[in-house]
């Protein structure tokens, strides 16, 4: 209302400079307020979650699109890294699997800070990219996809993992091992036997650290299964489903030739793709 009034005031008083300046100043302020109100309104619609305050684990996987998808997976992974730096969160790479062109076929990291999971949980799903791949000679635009998963972190209290349920595989030299062998291979793969979930970590330089990280990721995965089980039994009672967290849900399309990013969850298109990729405005 106020905005409409100010707009007409602005057009009526074209001759009165002072009035004009005052009106436009108030208008700017009103716009800002409108945006804030809309934002908080939108946020109040979002379902609250007991896990919102938790730290989270981010997983990015290249989907359809081969090498180009791996390159975009790396871009998306770095986008979240920059976003978390902007928010003052701590970002730590867990593991990356490089593709031939140094993209990521898979990458995972931990994000910690205030309300991280709550802020990022709706990022889970499919992120599509449309652009001319560096590998494409004819200049044709390709569409590729990566999937993002955001898992709340769980600690020993949330998820009790029994040692006898785990199989831990490590690099084995053959022969006597111990002092006879010098190796920098400290890769660890942990398999949770009851569920068959396996996590392999190799980027840390000690076996102890690789194992600790693998357990952390495993715990988050088991916790997520437990959450989904609870969630699906609860959601039967719920009519509305905002952000189901379904991995196949489309989240955004990043169209580089047109410089736009379309957010499919709210149907809004941004025209500043560079800012988005720099982690400026993932909202």
């Amino acid at each position: 209302m106020e905005i409409d009034g100010l707009k007409s005031l602005l057009s009526d008083c074209a001759e009165d400079k002072d009035m004009c300046a005052m009106a436009s100043e108030e208008l700017t302020e009103a716009f800002g307020q409108e945006k804030r109100l809309l934002h908080s309104l939108l946020k109040s619609f979002l379902p609250k979650d007991d896990d919102d305050e938790r730290d989270c684990i981010l997983e990015v996987r290249a989907g359809t699109g081969g090498e180009e998808a791996s390159l975009f997976a790396m871009d998306v992974f770095k986008m979240y890294e920059k976003y978390s730096q902007k928010n003052g969160w701590k970002f730590e790479v867990i593991d990356t699997k490089e593709s031939d062109l140094k993209g990521y076929t898979e990458a995972s990291g931990t994000l910690s800070g205030r309300g991280v999971y709550g802020k990022l949980k709706f990022e889970s799903g499919v992120h599509r990219v449309q652009r001319v791949p560096v590998t494409e000679k004819s200049g044709r635009v390709h569409t590729s996809a990566v999937t993002v998963a955001i898992l709340p972190q769980a600690d020993e209290v949330d998820i009790v993992v029994r040692n006898e349920d785990l199989r831990v595989d490590t690099y084995r030299s053959g022969g006597s091992g111990g002092q006879s062998v010098n190796t920098t291979n400290s890769a660890v793969r942990i398999t949770h036997l009851p569920t068959g979930i396996a996590v392999a970590i190799q980027d840390e330089r000690s076996q102890h650290m690789n194992k600790a990280k693998a357990l952390k990721v495993l715990r988050a995965k088991l916790y997520e299964i437990e959450r989904r089980r609870l969630h699906s039994s609860r959601s039967k009672l719920r009519s509305e489903q905002i952000g189901s967290g379904d991995r196949s849900e489309r989240i955004r399309t990043y169209n580089f030739p047109q410089g736009r990013v379309t957010d499919h969850r709210v149907g809004i298109t941004h025209h500043s793709i560079d800012d988005v990729m720099e982690g400026q405005m993932l909202k």
């Binding site: 006597s176 091992g177 111990g178 002092q179 920098t184 102890h208």
Partner: protein, 352 residues
């Protein structure tokens, strides 16, 4: 973690006992100098690990990229020649290149700051491939458990198997505030890890015969600010522990246990570069282990715990046999524990 605490190591005494003369001239940064000729011997100089050196060099991204490409192609073309004796595979070498650059560089906008010059990186990588110099000596550190330990020629590089000895010690109840000993500490790895899990009054005495090891261990203890918790003493096995007879709550050791006849067939990284003082366990490999078992009778207090690493399987069984037949009155609950590869790696037990 305390970074950039440069070594204040000096020792006025004696010369380094080197088993063999160096085969090649390592980059100036990595040489441990000592002069045996002069009477007033200069202090030993431990070059600090690469990742702790100042960022006093720089390089363009393209220069670093061409280093990486060169190093990777050298790794790929040479790996086949290295794996025959259990040496690194090409993918392991390529990961080492990433770690070398991680330790050596820091990005500042468009230029990279380096902790050593680019030429040295080329030299170091050539040593890695052509001389089979262990990666851990190249970068001067080993990541072990949650620690980053300085290592250097003349000191055994702590092995991943040995990480488990700390877990074994952690499982023991009621000894966390006592006096522990780590004999033949090398880089100080076990002593430091145990010191960090002990109670407020718990302490560790770590011994080593090698002067070089004593220096490196002291440096590592300092880096983790454990000077009040870990005391390093130089000497052979129990010799420096005369004052602690019958007082130890825990005793751990990873002594040299490789049978002498196996030494010359070892993987080049180990056989050519690591100190045989830390590897050679005599004819059966059990010379030092048996001394440790015997010595623990007089040095452990009743109820005290011991854990020793062995060459595995048969050797562990031999030690257990010996302890149960010869010293059954002295120990109880003697057990064998496996390492992550399922090899019977450790012998543990308690003093009666």
């Amino acid at each position: 973690m305390s970074r950039l605490r440069l070594p204040l190591l000096s020792s006025a005494s004696t010369t380094l006992r080197r088993r063999r003369s160096p085969r090649s001239s390592y980059s100036s940064g990595a040489v441990i100098t000592s002069s045996s000729a002069s009477h007033h011997t200069p202090p030993l100089k431990l070059q600090s690990p690469l990742f702790l050196r100042p960022l006093s060099h720089s390089a363009s991204p393209s220069a670093l990229l061409s280093f990486r490409r060169w190093a990777e192609s050298l790794a790929r073309s040479s790996a086949a020649d290295l794996t025959f004796d259990g040496g690194p595979s090409s993918s392991e070498l390529i990961r080492e290149i990433s770690w070398l650059l991680q330790d050596a560089t820091s990005q500042d906008g468009d230029t990279f700051l380096l902790r050593t010059d680019l030429e040295d990186l080329y030299r170091l990588w050539r040593q890695r491939i052509e001389e089979r110099r262990p990666f851990q000596y190249i970068v001067g550190c080993q990541h072990w458990r949650d620690l980053v330990l300085a290592v250097s020629e003349g000191v055994l590089i702590p092995r991943p198997e040995t990480e488990e000895i700390v877990n074994l010690a952690a499982r023991v109840e009621g000894l966390q505030d006592g006096m522990w000993a780590d004999l033949g500490t090398g880089s100080g790895a076990i002593a430091i890890a145990i010191a960090r899990m002990l109670g407020e009054n718990g302490k560790v005495v770590a011994t080593d015969l090698s002067e070089m090891a004593v220096e490196v261990a002291q440096f590592n203890v300092g880096r983790y600010k454990l000077e009040n918790k870990v005391e390093i003493r130089q000497g052979s096995w129990f010799e420096p522990l005369q004052d602690l007879q019958g007082k130890l709550s825990g005793l751990v050791s990873n002594p040299p246990y490789i049978p002498s006849s196996h030494i010359h067939g070892l993987q080049a990284e180990v056989g050519r570069h690591e100190p045989s003082l830390a590897l050679d366990g005599g004819e059966n490999g059990t010379d030092h282990l048996l001394r440790l078992c015997e010595g623990s009778i007089s040095s452990l207090k009743p109820g005290g715990f011991f854990a020793f690493e062995t060459n595995g399987d048969k050797q562990s069984e031999q030690i257990v046999d010996f302890m149960t037949t010869q010293w059954s009155n002295s120990f109880h609950d003697i057990k064998i524990e496996a390492d992550f590869a399922g090899i019977k790696r450790f012998v543990t037990g308690f003093r009666r």
